[in-house]
Symmetry: C2
DNA sequence: TTGACTTACTTTACATATAAAATTATCCAT
DNA sequence: ATGGATAATTTTATATGTAAAGTAAGTCAA
């Protein structure tokens, strides 16, 4: 005995941490996604894609978009198809490489993104309204630290 | 001026927090899900459902399972169907209420869950191997605090 | 009892995600 | 130039998730 004691405490700590992250993500995501859909007609997936496109007004390739969003190529393919159907995004064939496509926001997409960004901020403010600044700051410090440590290794694929 | 100063800092704090939660969730989820699939042939969705079923060996109704997992009824319906096809779960019609079904793990499901739980713990340990105990503890404290504050209101639906 | 409501669950239509195969275009060594 | 490897993207099959409609069973007032 004694050998497993420290290990078990560590394991409980890890599990507690993961459960907290899961719970926070699930609670915030559900509310934010639902209200974004209701208030501006955009899912978070679409909003995230548009946010990346807004950062690169000159256009961005499907592959780069997929890397930036950290989702699969196939997923981006469908997402962009739906955004095009919504009239928010356009795709142009690259002049240099005919395999490649450059996507960017339409004018209407740009306008919608600006409204959506404001809505996103104010919904998040609602969700976190009971959380004091110092608690947010403490969490930010702790989470940034853990993200850095996780990627120092890098145990992640 | 002066009016928006505090508000903007708060907003940045909120956004930073949400981005950190998103990133942590995405990084850990992707790795944990993939390795659980590779090493024990279970997605996290299936593992989570089995964990709940393991907690209630006497059986649990579809509706209670859906509440416990915080996912929709329709989702649980499909998830349980797939787990039954895998031979890990069985469903029996309730004797009191013929609308209701009680789901529980099969013997094979119980055994698989015990292995899966060990795998889950050790994969999580791998992912967090570079994170010192005190950093996990600090994050746990900060996150629990925020979860409580969020649900104090309750701004969440 | 009957008829209205509620409850438990499934089904359907769709969005979002992955992995793997398919497609098409480019590049490079010969 | 040709042929084989590589690269960018789409397509397909499947899992996971929601919301909304559908089905069937229980409840309860009159």
């Amino acid at each position: 005995m004694g050998e497993t004691g420290k290990s078990d405490a560590r394991q409980r700590n890890q599990t507690r941490f993961w459960l907290s992250v899961l719970r926070l993500h699930s609670d915030i995501f559900a509310e934010l996604n639902k209200r974004m859909q209701d208030e501006v007609g955009l899912s978070l997936a679409k909003f995230d894609a548009m946010a990346q496109l807004a950062r690169t007004p000159e256009g961005i390739s499907m592959g780069q978009l997929s890397s930036a969003l950290k989702v699969s190529n196939g997923n981006v393919s469908g997402l962009v198809t739906r955004l095009i159907k919504d009239g928010l995004v356009i795709k142009a064939m690259s002049t240099e490489d005919r395999r490649s496509f450059s996507a960017r926001l339409t004018d209407s997409g740009e306008q919608k993104f600006l409204m959506a960004r404001d809505a996103h901020n104010s919904i998040l403010a609602d969700i976190l309204q009971q959380v004091p600044d110092e608690d947010l700051t403490a969490a930010n410090t702790a989470l940034r630290e853990i993200l850095e440590e996780m990627h120092a290794g890098d145990a992640l694929g």
